[in-house]
Subunit: 377 residues, 2 copies
């Protein structure tokens, strides 16, 4: 493959994509831009994995691909709030969440960079995904996670052979300790390294194929660091540039009201992420007070004609019960986007005639202990 | 579609497949035989779900299909015991186990029969699958499960809106109570109704496609009631009859030594299932003392040139750790087939040059509580 562009979002500084780097010298986040695209005609004969979109995934050499044949998850229609929501069952991945989309690409890049050891921080799903794919790649992996992380998630992370470090304090404390440790080992952060979102973007490609090579009118993504949101934006943007779709879907970003810095930025038109003190939310997977890629997120939502929206924790349990009783068991974090879809419909931001896709980002089995309590009401 | 044959395995009595029935008048189990097959050429343009094998699935009318776009699970190579095992990640289904293959077809048939209410018994995975697809079909569902069933599995079953009845005593007690209740409602049993295995057989079709339209030399299936085993046999037999493969793979059936009635039947050449008192095993999903379809299982294994084999509980935890550290987290029951594959290799029943496929039948997340204990050693 031809080389991708690898540059800073803030200052525009360029870097060679063949050398390990997770942040610009100026402190800004980096982005990578593939300079190729697949042809629509070639897809029919390719394997049913996300690597069918090979040209769009910025990995240089096929021999570095670390994969478990992941991708092409189901798209299932479920009636909710007077509309038909197309649910992308994006928990049907080896580790039980859509983060595997990002991890297969990120760990392929880590392998391409020849790294033998990496570390990262996460509250659960991204850690499990990176740990599993690091295991497949034969790369040693250290994970920093809040001491409050559920035992089941901890068990999963260590099952993949990663070393788990439990860090007292809020989620941000784990990031701080990880960044300190990153002076010694490469920081395989799913939000700092842009390769991750060039994996998550494949959900947009799949939706486009599943809808007969068209884009939906809208997508709603649960949003913390923004890997589902930015994945949608990157994927649909590349389809648009290739002339495969005629416009972007409206991209809506859903946050839990108890930790909604991006909603505040959007509504108050702020130039920087506000300092907030997040309250505890059952949507733990998107409880991110200081997202790194806020600028990209704002631009993506603005360009697409969507908005940021917050939902109250109280709306989540009834939603989990409703979708469960329709055959789809999701983890509480995923429910935030479905609750938001209902609100957007009420507010008229999604009309009845519009097609809307919402990813089910994590399996309900990831939170079996909580579900029991939440669903017994 | 043309009508399938629907007849008793024991006495040969024929029944019309358009009328609800789960057992022959003589008490024997029924089998259904589709009289069509898909063409190899047509597959490339079909959706990537198990319903791509439409002609081979004995449902009359497309409008009755109850689906969540399930199927076409990954096939991943993992080195183990001096061989490369092709792991079919058959836990990548909406409810977290391969039982969804059976449930999508069984509940489609229940819908085709116009049933509004069904019941069944299971220790967990089949119950979750039937409950989820009943929910999709809008069919009321009662589940009878042992009182000892883990809380997480119970939470999953009720999350799908099924009514759960916890029955004291061993697994067989749940079956007995369910069969009594089946005088009032249809018994949607996954082992009595043959439609279930005509769903599980699609794993054979997928493997055949994934191996470039060839059969592997051997498959090893964890075996209780035999839905993975009989699925393999039905699927590969249909491919053989259609001339799509030249011989069956050897089919090996793995049981936990603590509950291995089929191994005893096989080794002692018995004419009936022996009365055994099963000991508690960590392979709870295949702890079945009196399998209904024993005759079919014996014939399948014999015809294919395989055998029945038992493995000790003690071999399971190291295996869970080994595969976890290679990126695949499975529930303990699934590990029985991998342990058996290693034994078969040692015994020379699978040679080094032979390709072997083993399904990972259930997600490790299904047993997060147990994994923690099992993997911490």
């Amino acid at each position: 493959m031809s080389e991708a562009e690898f540059a800073c979002i803030d200052c525009g500084e360029n870097y060679p994509p063949n050398l390990p780097r997770w942040r610009c010298g100026c402190g800004g986040p980096l982005e990578v831009e593939p300079n190729a695209v697949f042809t629509r005609e070639s897809l029919a004969s390719r394997p049913t994995t996300l690597w069918r979109y090979r040209e769009a995934i910025p990995i240089q050499d096929d021999s570095n691909i670390v994969t478990m044949d992941e991708g092409m998850t189901p798209l299932v229609s479920i009636a909710h709030s007077g509309m038909e929501i197309l649910c992308k069952l994006d928990f049907l991945f080896p580790t039980g969440s859509f983060k595997d989309r990002g991890a297969t690409v990120l760990m392929s890049k880590m392998k391409e960079w020849g790294l033998a050891q990496v570390l990262m921080d996460s509250s659960g799903n991204a850690a499990a995904a990176v740990a599993a794919y690091a295991a497949r790649a034969g790369i040693e992996c250290d994970i920093y996670a809040p001491a409050s992380t559920s035992q089941a998630k901890c068990a999963q992370i260590t099952a993949y052979g990663a070393r788990l470090h439990k860090i007292p304090g809020p989620r941000a404390a784990s990031t701080a300790v990880a960044m300190e440790a990153a002076k010694e080992r490469f920081y395989a952060s799913h939000f700092w390294n842009p390769w991750f979102n060039h994996g998550t973007k494949t959900w947009a490609f799949e939706v486009w194929e599943q809808l007969g090579f068209t884009a939906p009118n809208a997508v709603v993504a649960p949003t913390g660091h923004g890997s589902a949101l930015l994945g949608a934006y990157l994927g649909f943007s590349e389809l648009l540039r290739a002339g495969y779709i005629s416009e972007l879907p409206k991209i809506f970003a859903a946050q839990a009201a108890r930790c909604a810095p991006m909603v505040q930025m959007w509504e108050e038109n702020l130039e920087a992420v506000p300092e907030i003190t997040p309250e505890e939310t059952i949507a733990e997977g998107i409880s991110i007070a200081a997202p790194v890629r806020w600028k990209q997120m704002i631009e993506a939502v603005r360009e697409s004609g969507g908005c940021f929206i917050s939902v109250e924790d109280e709306t989540i349990p009834p939603l989990l019960r409703e979708f469960g009783a329709k055959g789809v068991l999701m983890e509480p974090t995923s429910a935030v986007a479905f609750a938001a879809a209902g609100l957007l419909r009420e507010q008229g931001k999604i009309s009845q005639s519009e097609s809307v896709v919402v990813p089910v980002t994590g399996h309900g089995l990831k939170a079996a202990d909580k579900l029991e309590k939440l669903m017994s009401v």
